[in-house]
Structure formats: C-alpha cells, structure tokens
C-alpha cells in the first residue's frame, strides 16, 4: 500500500502527457484513454478508501510518503491523507471519472482538453494530499493553469474575461499565502527548533505571541498571517466579497469544468482552512471566529438572494454554490465537533449535488445551446421540460432537492450538523442562517417551476431525453445522493476521528 498516493497523484499527470502522443484525429481513442485513466485512478481511490483506518486520528501511516525535494530549504515531497482529505480525494476521483464521460460532448481540440483535464485532476489530488506547505502551494497554483485554459479555450462567449478573472483572483490570494508560508518557515526556527515547511509540524498554535512589524506597525504575527491565508482561501471558497469570479467562471466554463470547479475546487479553500489556517493558527482562528461566522452567514443569504435574481440557470447554480459554501464556513467557524463534521460532510455533499446540477445543465445545454430561464428578450427560455424530458426531470428533481437540503438526500445531514454545531456558539447566526434555507428552496423551486412546469414551449419540443451515456454517468451520483442521505456513515466514519482531533486541538486554544 505504500506509495499508493504516488500512483493516484501521478497517474493522471502521466496520462495527460501520454494523451499528447495519440494522434489528434483519433478522438475516440483520446476519450477512452481518458476514461481508462480516470477509472484506474478512481479504483485506486477506492482502494485507498478501503484501506483507510478510521481509528487513526492523524495522517494515515500507510499513505505517508516522504522524501527530500530541496534539501537546502527543508522542502519535502511529503504526501499523506487523513479523514478530512480522504473524502475530498475520493470525490475528486469520482467526479473526474464522471466528467470524462460528460466531456464526450466537447466539440474541438479534444487532445488538449482531455490532457488538461487529467492534469487538473492530478494537481487537485496534489493539493489534497500534500503535507508539505511548499508542495501544497505548488499544486495549488499548478491547478490554476489547466483550469485557466479549460475555461479560456473551451468556455462560453465571455470566456477570456472569466478565465482571467478566475486566475487573477486566485493568484492574488495565493501570493498572500506564499508570503505567509515563507514567514511561517522562518518563524518555525524560533518555535520548533528548525525551519520547516512541514504542515504537521507547524500545527499546534506555536506562533501565537510572535510580533511582526508591517507598514510601521507592530502587529501580532499569527493574526496577520491568518488573515493573509484567509484571503487566499476565502477567494477559493469563495467567501463574500471575494466571490465575484465564481459566477463568471461557472457560466463560461464548459460543463465538466463547472462540475470540477464547483465540486472539488471550491473545497480546496475550505480544506485549506481545516488543514492549514486553523491548526496552525488556532488562537487567531478563535479570534476571527465571529467574523468568519458572520461572513459565512452573509455568504448564505447573499448568495441565495443573488441566485434568485438570475435568469441564467448556470449562474443561478453558481450563486447557490456561494450560498452552500457559506454553510461550510459557518460549520468551520463554529469549531464544534458537529459543526466541523457538518462542514466536511457538506463539502462532500455539495460536491455531489452541485456536480449533479451542473451536469444536468450541461445536458440541457447540449440540446438547447442556451441557458436562459427567461431570455434577455423577456421570453421563456424553457418551459414544460417535465413533459418533454421525464427521465431528465426526475434526475433534476433529485439534484434539486439534494441541494436544497431535503432530508433523505445528502445535503440535509450536513446542513443539520452545521446548524447543530453553530447553534451553541452563535445562536443568532443559526437563526438567521435559516433564512438561507428558505431562500434556497425559493430560488431552486422557482427555477424548477419556470423551466419544467407548464406547457412545452416550441423551442423545447425537439429536446431528446437523457441518453444512455448521460444516464450512465448521472446514475452513480443519484445513487450516492440518496444513499448518503439515508446512510452518511461511509463518509462520516472516515472523517470523524480526524475532525474530532482537530476540534479537540482547537478547543485547547480557546480563549
């Protein structure tokens, strides 16, 4: 089992290079090669899951990979996963498998597309597996490159703007992160005896009482760098007011990329909070707790309000992601067992449900070539799809209700856990957060009503129902959404020990 993470990490990247050897004309070979690579990767992820030992709170020993990379800087190629990263790794494997099927619809430059897709997968794996800060940063940034091109080349009409905005935003945040990483490295010498980029060693609130002189002010070290990391991660989450890249990126990106963006990429931000910000700066985490909780609340309500305004389905779902990620932030900010577990579970569940929604919209877009609920001319963009595409509608309902948090579907448990966790420290926020649930139901159902009910409008009469391939890749998601709604243990069990440890560690530093 040793080195399993190596295989998972490098297989897609290797695949992305190998694809370049396939002649450009052999489109099917390229597609199926991608499918093969993602399938093998997914199987490896499953093996990882099977071998996971729930009792171990920290990094799973069997996954640990560590070798020196840059000796003079103490940079290590260090991988490992724990209960927080495993669900993310797994869903990454799953969503890319699904996306490689969904991407059969891509119309141009197949080779580049699939190559970049695999590279994206590899780099995201890297983010979730890295235990070395430098390595983490490298993967965090590398992920931008394929994403940038995937949006920029295969995206919609306004793709350049979206791609650049996406890149700039993230890059801005990550520059601040880099600063924090290096500063931590040097601070570690005083506190830990040696300079290090090792996340695990840095954890534990060693940097609380350091001072830092910036712009001529004497500032607390940990709070400043917590804030810097916060911006870096908040942009990825995205947290209001750093969220405006998201609607653009989502709307312009091709379906599969939207799926990845919403399903996995956004989680990198919250993962960063759980893996880096909070464990390393627990005191600052407590200090900023109220602030982040309120921001989470703003995210929820604000995202929902914005979603309601949209006439573009994809934009609507994009804003719903903003809203849903707010729940994750809320859960994290609560710093209670329930809240944290809920947050991690919500990361996973939102990955499933929002991926479903984006795939469904992609399927629809294949047929309609537009995404307007109400077209800019004020006409109905869709109408009566329920009658026209019954199977599609059923899947849509599942996705829809999963994302509005219907009990029995996956979203509910995580949201409930988050609220349970949040209530204790922030009852007011919990109460106000409920508005988000109402609004969430409102915009989703309103969208559903406008698109699916009523008579079939003329332009919708041609649309075929979902075909076998689409059914094939939607089915696992439907199954998971329902299954995890009833029986969330497969995910909760693997994460709970790690999350519990995190919560206990954090609690030690409560003021």
């Amino acid at each position: 089992m040793h080195g399993l993470l190596n295989y998972i990490l490098w297989l897609p990247i290797l695949g992305s290079l190998l694809i370049l050897l396939i002649p450009k004309e052999k489109v099917n070979a390229i597609r199926w090669f991608t499918v093969a690579v993602t399938t093998v990767t997914f199987i490896l992820c499953c093996i990882l899951y099977v071998n996971f030992d729930q009792a171990v709170p920290g990094i799973q020993p069997f996954t640990a990979v560590s070798m020196p990379w840059i000796k003079s800087f103490n940079i290590y190629y260090k991988l490992g996963i724990d209960g927080i990263s495993l669900p993310m790794v797994w869903i990454n494997g799953l969503l890319f498998l699904i996306c490689s099927f969904s991407s059969f619809d891509i119309k141009k430059m197949h080779k580049g597309y699939f190559s970049l897709l695999l590279m994206l997968q590899g780099s995201i794996f890297g983010v979730f597996m890295s235990l070395d800060f430098f390595l983490f940063y490298v993967f965090w940034e590398v992920m931008l490159l394929p994403m940038f091109f995937l949006i920029g080349i295969w995206g919609g009409d306004n793709r350049e703007y979206a791609a650049i905005k996406f890149f700039l935003y993230t890059f801005f945040g990550s520059v601040l992160m880099l600063l924090a990483i290096i500063a931590l490295y040097f601070a570690a010498e005083g506190r830990l005896g040696a300079e290090t980029f090792d996340m695990v060693k840095l954890m534990g609130g060693h940097f609380a009482d350091l001072k830092l002189s910036l712009f001529g002010m004497d500032l607390p070290f940990d709070k400043v760098f917590f804030a810097m990391l916060f911006v870096g991660f908040a942009i990825k989450v995205p947290i209001f007011p750093f969220h405006t890249w998201l609607p653009h990126a989502h709307v312009q990106a091709p379906t599969a990329v939207s799926v990845i963006l919403a399903g996995v990429l956004l989680k990198m931000g919250t993962y960063g909070f759980l893996r880096i910000s909070y464990p390393i700066f627990p005191q600052a985490g407590h200090y900023f707790g109220d602030f982040i909780a309120w921001l989470g609340l703003v995210n929820i309500i604000y995202g929902a309000l914005c979603a309601m305004a949209q006439t573009d389905v994809k934009k609507l779902i994009a804003y719903s992601s903003v809203s849903h990620m707010g729940f994750v932030m809320l859960g994290i900010a609560a710093m209670t067992t329930e809240g944290m577990n809920g947050a991690v579970l919500q990361m996973f569940n939102h990955g499933l449900s929002t991926a479903m929604m984006f795939l469904l919209i992609g399927i629809l877009y294949e047929r309609s070539h537009h995404r307007w609920i109400v077209t800019p001319e004020g006409k109905k963009g869709f109408g009566g799809l329920y009658a026209q595409m019954p199977k599609y509608s059923i899947i849509f309902i599942i996705g829809l209700f999963a994302s509005l948090g219907l009990p029995g579907l996956s979203g509910f448990i995580s949201e409930a856990l988050v609220f349970i966790g949040v209530f204790k420290p922030y009852p007011t926020i919990a109460l106000l957060g409920l508005i988000g649930l109402v609004l969430g139901a409102a915009y989703l159902l309103w969208m559903f009503k406008r698109m699916f009910f009523g008579e079939i409008i003329d332009s919708c009469k041609e649309y075929a129902d979902v075909n076998k391939r689409e059914m094939f890749y939607m089915a696992p998601l439907c199954f998971l959404v329902i299954f995890l709604g009833i029986y969330p243990l497969p995910i909760l069990d693997v994460m709970k020990t790690s999350v519990g440890k995190l919560v206990i560690d954090l609690a030690k530093f409560a003021p």
Binding site: P68, W69, I70, K71, S72, F73, M109, G112, Y137, V138, E141, V142, L144, L145, F149, G152, I153, R159, E160, A163, I164, F167, L168, F171, F172, V175, L176, L178, L179, I182, A183, Y185, F186, L212, S213, L214, F215
Partner: protein
C-alpha cells in the same frame, strides 16, 4: 609590483577568449565582407569562440576566488556564473540576430561584433573590483549599446532610440563619475579593497559626503539595470531598437549591472556599516518597490509585445533588486537563481516575439492571435514562459521569486514582499494578454511563420526546458549557487 601576469591571465582566459573572438571576427568581416562563405566562417568562429569562452568559464567555476590585476578584477564563482549567463545570452542573441529580419542582413556581422564588445564590458563589470574598472565596464557596456540601439539604420525609431540612449547614458554615466570623484576624494583610493577597511569607521562628515556621492554613483548602475526612477530610457530604447538588440539589452547589460550593484552593495553596505547600510538599504528598498510597481503597472496597457517585455524586464529587475536589498548570502544566491531563470525566460519570449514580428512587420499583441493553434509547441512554450514570468509554479520563474521572497522575508522585509507579490499579480494582466491572444482568439491568418522552422522550434523548446526543469528540480542548482558566495578579497 611583481605581478604574476601569467597567473592572472590564466584566470582571465574567458575574457581574453572573447576579446580574441572579437578581433578575429573583425578580421573576418573585413576580409570577406559580403560573401556567403565569409558569413558562415564568421558565425562559425563566433560560435566556437564564445563556446570556448563558456567552457573556460565553466572551468573557472571550480577555481578558488582570486583577485587579479592588482585588484582590478575579481574572479569568483558569482561573477563566473553571471558571465556564463551573459555569454550564453550573447550567443543566443546573436543567433537570433542572424535569424531575425529586424537586423538587416548586411548588419548581422556588425551586430555580432557590437554584442561581443558589449559582452566584454559586461564581463569586466561583473567582476569589477575597483572604481575604474567599474566605470570602464559601464562605459564599454553603454557606448557599444548606443551603437546597437541604432543598428537598424534606416528606421527612425531605431535612431531615436539611439539618441535617447546616448543622451541618457551620457548623463547617467556623467553623474556616476561625478559621484566616484567624491568617493575618491574621501577615500583617496579607487580600489574596493582599500576602501573596504576605511568605510568601517567614518566620521559623520565623511558620511555626509559619501551618501550623496554613492547616490550619484548609483545613478550609473541604476540606469544600467533600468530601475525606477532611472528607467525611463528603457521602454523607449527597447522599443525602438531592433528586436534582437532589445533581447540583448534585456539580458547582458542588466545582468552586468545587477552583478556590480550586488557587489558594491555587499562590500560597502553590509549590516556592519550601520549608517551607510541604513541609508543605502533605504534607497534600495524604495527603488526596488518603485521598480516593481512602475515596471509592472506601466506594462499593462501596451500594444507592442516588445514594449511590454521591456517594461516587464524593468519589473523583473525590481524583483532582483529585492534580492539585492537583503544584503546577505541568501539574497545573492536568490538573485543569481533569478538571473538564471530570467535568462531563459527572456530568451524564449523574445525569440518567439521576434519570429512573429518578422512575419507581420510589427509585434502587436494581435499578431499572436491563434498562435497556440497554428504552432502548438510554440504556443505552449510561450505560455509556459509567460506563466513563468508571472511566477506561477511549477515553472522556474516561481522558484526564482520564491527564493527572492524567501531571502527578503528572512530579513523581515514584509512590506516589500507584499508589494512584490501584488505586482506579480498585476503582471499577470499583461503576460496573460499574450496567452489570451495565442489561445483564446482565432488566428488572423494561416500563413506559415518563416521563423518557426524545425531548428528554431527545437532551439526555442530547448531554451524553455530549463524553465520547466528548474521549476521542479531546482535542488541541485540552488545548492551549487548557495555555495558560490560572493567573494571579496580583503
């Protein structure tokens, strides 16, 4: 007075090699002025000479540092590495000059001659160890550069570039020498070695003379590396010059200037000289911050890729200055690493721009439309370089910036690093513009670009390989560089 000339000369083989190449080329040029055969011979000799110089330099890497010609120059691994970079840069630039249509075919030999001449100055500057060699280095670098800027003789822009360069260069070097004269007045010596012990205990009056004098001195160096506020010639001259010349300007004079600035800073303004250190570092910090900001911000709305790259090279110089400000060994190695990556990135960027500009007659961003689809390899390579210049991992440019930031944060220069980081975000605006046109915009025409033959593509790709390679496997190189500390004979 007993100078062991031979021992000195043995360390000075690379320079001598380059000078001989220069002289030899002059003869060849004079003999076979317009013949095809002569051209082949010319470039053959040139290549051989420079490669030999490179080999000699590589051999010099292992040699223990030594000060030769009565402390006129110093040969240490630092200067040797910079020289290697400069020679390599010259070699590739001359190749580019041969390929490029921006240098008239009857001027290609002259371009090579001038470039090698500038290279001699640069090499002298890189290992200069007294004020005189510094001054002569700067002047050699400058005067021949003026010629290079004007090399496109029938072009009004080129001659205007020459005018601007010569005036600006003259004023800057005049001020530099004015500063040097007062430094000489205070110390009574132009030898770094002799100044060094004196600088440690100065009276405050001397200090009051020296600080302005060194500022004057700094003008000369600052104009060579084009740092703000002495950068204003650079965009104009870079734009007006023929493209290979711009390439050359972005590499050799800049590196040489950076090397001497680093050396002067390290020798005179170490932390042990409190007052001098504080004022000098204060100046450098402001200059570095301004250079990063102005370079990167000005580059945004440019139409011409060449001019954008000119501003970008100013911005990059700002980052290197950030490494200079640190004034310690980590900073030196960071700057060295930066120079190495900068060489490759600049070469690739200018090579591709040059071939595109040759095809279309100008180098506006629009000319890059659809390049990524027509020449995927070139597109990818250019994109890699642009990302690398921005500082995105896993490319070498990121590692270079990382090293600089690393060194700066080690000295707690948080504000500067913050500025550096943010300006590198800003720099993405204009670097990505190239990528945007290459990949997101349909091609303007499907005509072949003549410059992208297999050999050139291969060469460009080969030049880009280190950009990628050093981004991941930089362990070995950085270890080597860390050991090649700036040497100073006391």
């Amino acid at each position: 007075m007993n100078i062991n000339y031979l021992a000195n000369l043995s360390l000075y083989i690379p320079e001598i090699m380059v000078i001989f190449t220069l002289v030899g080329l002059l003869f060849i040029e004079a003999t076979y002025s317009e013949e095809e055969k002569g051209r082949k011979l010319f470039f053959g000799v040139m290549t051989v000479g420079l490669v030999l110089a490179l080999l000699a330099l590589v051999k010099n890497l292992g040699v223990p540092p030594a000060s030769i010609f009565t402390n006129a120059v110093i040969i240490d691994p630092f200067s040797t590495i910079v020289k290697i970079l400069m020679v390599a840069g010259t070699l590739f630039t001359i190749y580019l000059g041969q390929q490029s249509r921006d240098i008239y075919s009857n001027m290609k030999a002259e371009f090579a001659l001038m470039a090698i001449g500038v290279l001699v100055g640069g090499m002298l500057l890189a290992s200069a160890n007294n004020m005189l060699t510094t001054y002569i280095g700067v002047e050699t670098l400058s005067i021949l550069s003026y010629v290079m800027a004007t090399l496109k003789k029938n072009d009004d822009r080129s001659s205007e570039a020459g005018i601007k360069y010569v005036l600006y260069g003259g004023v800057a070097s005049g001020m530099m020498v004015f500063g040097i004269s007062h430094i000489f007045g205070v110390f009574g010596s132009i030898q770094f070695v002799e100044i060094y012990p004196l600088i440690k205990d100065l009276s405050s009056l001397q200090m009051a003379i020296l600080i302005p004098s060194f500022i004057f001195f700094f003008v000369g160096l600052g104009y060579k590396i084009a740092c703000v506020p002495f950068h204003m010639w650079a965009p104009d001259v870079y734009e007006g010059s023929p493209l290979p010349v711009t390439t050359f300007f972005a590499i050799v004079p800049k590196m040489a200037g950076m090397a001497i600035l680093l050396r002067v800073t390290m020798i005179f303004f170490g932390p042990e000289n409190t007052v001098m250190h504080v004022s000098w570092v204060g100046v450098l910090q402001v200059v570095a911050a301004l250079t990063m900001i102005v370079g990167n911000v000005s580059a945004i709305a440019q139409k011409s890729v060449k001019r954008m790259l000119a501003y970008s090279s100013i911005g990059q110089a700002g980052f290197m200055l950030l490494g200079v400000v640190v004034i310690d060994d980590i900073g030196v190695s960071a700057v060295l690493f930066y120079m190495i990556t900068y060489l490759f990135m600049t070469l690739v960027a200018f090579f591709i721009t040059s071939f595109v500009a040759d095809k279309y007659g100008n180098d506006h961003f629009e000319r890059f439309s659809g390049l990524g689809f027509r020449y995927p390899l070139m597109g990818v390579v250019m994109a890699v370089v642009m990302f690398s210049l921005t500082g995105v991992p896993p490319f070498a440019g990121f590692i270079a910036k990382f090293n600089i930031f690393y060194a700066a944060i080690n000295q707690k220069l948080y504000t500067l690093v913050l500025i550096g980081g943010l300006t590198s975000v800003i720099s993405f605006y204009f670097y990505v513009k190239v990528i945007r046109f290459m990949f997101f915009t349909p091609a303007e025409s499907e005509e072949k670009i003549g410059g992208f033959g297999y050999i050139n593509q291969g060469l460009i790709t080969a030049l880009a390989v280190p950009v990628l390679f050093l981004g991941i496997f930089w362990s070995g190189l950085i270890t080597k560089i860390v050991h090649s500390k700036l040497f100073f004979v006391q």
